[in-house]
């Protein structure tokens, strides 16, 4: 489904190389966890997958269903069914979450030759997901992310993920800064969405979230390279010993 080959990426402005040759293959239905110490390039990887312009791919390839997406703009990647839950979602004054999400849904449906969802049907779906994600309904009446706490912003990202129902969901440190209830809510959302044709790439620093969402594959990313790949127990090992071993090896 998603395949990353020898991926090298730099910060567009400074040309500082962050990703130094990453290989990764995610099959339908799999949950992959990307773990690593601060500054290892985890978030960069998540953003490069979604096509953030502040990073540039200098070598290697990313393919979805065998087609390269490296040249695609972020909106075109979203149309293919990719989704990135942001680590720091932007505030957009005057834009309501409902309006934003309806526009996103319409754009994706339109790109896939589907007709627009009616306002009524969409509202029903939206309200359902608001309840499921446990977002304070008052927040939804505000501007997108404006005045939201860190946890509320993350719940709002989960709301978007659930409404848009992507095939490839990338989560960039969604668990950081969450209290236990919010963490549980995020995990429930992911578990409910797990299905044979949907894949997850979960970027995380801690093993916390992985207590609730059991990954199929765990990758340890250090200094822009994947240094170890294993099953769920690898995450438990990290919890016990930290990243010390990898850092000293370097």
């Amino acid at each position: 489904m998603l395949k990353i080959e020898n991926l090298h990426a730099v910060v567009t402005d400074s040309e500082e190389e962050i990703l130094k040759g990453i290989d990764l293959e995610v099959s339908p239905g799999e949950v992959h966890a990307i773990m690593g110490p601060n500054g290892s390039g985890k978030s960069t990887l998540a953003n490069v997958l979604m096509g953030k312009p502040s990073y540039s791919v200098t070598d290697g390839d990313i393919t979805v269903d065998g087609e390269s997406i490296v040249e695609l703009m972020p909106d075109a990647r979203a149309h293919l069914g990719m989704f990135l839950a942001m680590q720091y979602p932007s505030e957009v004054p005057g834009v309501r979450p409902w309006q934003f999400l309806k526009a996103a849904k319409d754009a994706i449906d339109n790109a896939n030759g589907q007709s627009k969802m009616s306002v009524r049907a969409f509202s029903k779906l939206f309200d359902e997901k608001v309840t499921e994600t446990g977002i304070n309904p008052d927040l939804i009446k505000r501007s997108l992310n404006e005045g939201f706490s860190g946890g509320e912003k993350k719940r709002n990202e989960m709301l978007q993920m659930q409404v848009l129902a992507p095939r490839i969901a990338i989560m960039d440190e969604t668990d950081s800064g969450l209290d236990i209830d919010a963490l549980q809510a995020v995990a429930d959302g992911v578990n409910k969405m797990r299905s044979p044709d949907r894949s997850f790439v979960i970027v995380t620093h801690y093993q916390r979230l992985l207590h609730y969402v059991k990954p199929d594959v765990v990758h340890i990313l250090v200094n822009g390279k994947i240094v170890e790949t294993g099953g769920a127990p690898l995450a438990e090992k990290i919890e016990a010993t930290g990243y010390r071993d990898y850092l000293t090896v370097r």
């Binding site: 312009p53 972020p74 979203a78 934003f100």
Partner: protein
């Protein structure tokens, strides 16, 4: 210039400016006075309108005053606007559709081609407008074409008609209020307007009456080389309420066109006037040729406990010089100004407001949103004046600028004068750009770059747009989108 030539030029320009969809011309025979302005032209205009002597005298006094200003070279130059010298003798001051010479008695008598024009403009002139609940007075070039809905309004004693008709039928009201808020000595453009205005709208709402529908005037400049000088006067008598909408378009022209309007609002004790404008005069080509020069004087005055609220969405015109203001004369009166001004390509806008607090406990709110794109230059110029008698006056000013691209400019020039220590004033200002993070966020959800820009910009303007009546708000959103085309992506 013959009609044929005109149409050719218009078609040619339309190819270049497909973005401006209001740029059609209408092939209607026009009756025009010779170019230039002098006492004879003023007399001719007055005669065409069969005006009473007092009206002609007022015009001539205004002309004399304006001539004096001309000699002193007193055309205002303090605004941050650059434009070539205007040759006031090279403009037609009177142009009227010939077929209207015998003033139509009903819509059936209006030239079908003109009705088609209004259709293209989306003005509801037929049955539809009853559903829409809007009474329309359409001013085509200089002459008011048709005022719809008049009968229903009459039942409530509301007068809504062309200015010309008001002078004929309600001279006592016109004489009482004309020039009472904007005297002809007010400024250069107001003086010129007072001398040569050819039509406009008049509305009077009697004491205690709430106007049940929105009143609307649609202005359109059609004839090449014509100046448009309309005059609008709205009076809300004691305890009356009215919401008034004004829309403007012009066809694509290579040469610039002058528009110098005057709007006077009188809101007597406990009266309320809500005045909304969508200004979409032709902005000129992408490289800054042509376009309307828009020099407008708009001002209102309040009685006790009265309110005046201006809302404007300014997307058109090559040059905008416009400061809708409120003289808060009555105690406890309220003045508001909500504005979105967009300057794209080579457009220049110098716009804002003046709030003059005279009465006690007067309150004013200013929300100005300036969007600059392309090589556009956008200036907010606003004055807040608290006079010695204005105990406990308050003002809140919020003045935000948004930059799209790196060739445009945003400027803020607030003047604040406080002569009473009990006054409370707040001034907030911000300048921002559409951030890359915001764009990435929206695009990562599947929204195209252009739509993402548009969504961020309209969201940013929301505090102003939400003040508009619903249909107008939709139109304003569309206009912003069309006006920004090419500036983003």
């Amino acid at each position: 210039m013959t009609t044929q030539e005109r149409l050719t030029i218009s078609r040619e320009s339309q190819l270049e400016d497909s973005g401006y969809k209001w740029g059609f011309t209408t092939d209607i025979e026009m009756e025009m006075a010779p170019k230039g302005v002098n006492a004879d032209i003023v007399r001719l205009i007055s005669e065409k309108k069969d005006e009473p002597e007092w009206m002609l005298e007022w015009r001539l006094k205004a002309l004399e005053y304006w001539n004096g200003l001309q000699l002193q070279d007193a055309e205002p130059r303090w605004a941050k606007l650059r434009y070539p010298e205007i040759d006031y003798q090279d403009i037609y001051y009177y142009a009227a559709p010939k077929t209207l010479d015998d003033a139509p008695k009903s819509l059936d008598e209006v030239d079908p081609e003109m009705l088609e024009t209004f259709d293209k403009l989306g003005i509801p002139l037929h049955e539809r407008e009853r559903l829409a609940g809007v009474a329309v007075d359409a001013v085509f070039d200089s002459v008011s074409v048709a005022t719809t809905y008049a009968d229903q309004l009459e039942e409530r004693g509301i007068i809504f008609c062309s200015f010309t008709e008001a002078v004929q039928k309600h001279p006592e009201l016109v004489q009482k209020y004309l020039g009472s808020v904007v005297p002809y000595t007010d400024n250069f453009f107001a003086a010129l307007n007072s001398a040569v205005f050819s039509d406009g709208s008049f509305a009077y709402i009697p004491p205690g009456v709430r106007c049940p529908i929105e009143l609307m005037t649609y202005f359109r400049i059609n004839t090449e080389g014509t100046g448009q000088f309309e005059r609008t006067l709205i009076v809300a008598d004691e305890g009356a309420y009215v919401s008034y909408l004004e829309g403007c378009t012009a066809p694509i022209r290579r040469t610039s066109q002058l528009h110098a309007a005057v709007v006077e609002l009188v809101s007597l004790d406990r009266g309320e006037i809500k005045y909304s404008t969508i200004q979409n005069w032709y902005p000129g080509t992408k490289d800054g040729q042509g376009g309307v020069y828009n020099f407008v004087t708009k001002r209102g005055i309040t009685g006790n406990d009265a309110k005046i609220s201006w809302t404007q969405v300014e997307t058109g015109s090559a040059i905008t010089w416009k400061y809708p203001s409120v003289i808060l004369r009555g105690d406890n009166s309220v003045g508001e100004f909500y504005s979105v001004a967009l300057a794209n390509n080579y457009q220049q806008a110098d716009t804002g407001t003046k709030m003059i607090h005279i009465g006690k406990n007067t309150k004013s709110t200013i929300v100005s949103k300036g969007i600059s794109a392309g090589h556009g230059e956008n200036t907010y110029r606003g004055g807040v004046k608290i006079l010695p008698g204005a105990e406990n006056a308050t003002n809140h000013t919020q003045c935000d600028s948004l930059l799209v691209g790196d060739q445009c400019g945003a400027h803020t020039v607030p003047y604040i004068e406080v002569r009473n220590p009990t006054a409370r004033l707040e001034h907030e200002a911000s300048t921002s750009k559409v951030s890359d993070e915001q764009l990435f966020y929206l695009m990562a959800r599947g929204i195209s770059e252009e739509d993402a820009h548009y969504m961020i910009i309209t969201g940013w303007s929301r505090d102003v747009i939400k003040e508009l009546p619903f249909e107008f708000a939709l139109e304003a959103g569309q206009l912003l989108k069309v006006s920004l085309e090419g500036a983003v992506g």
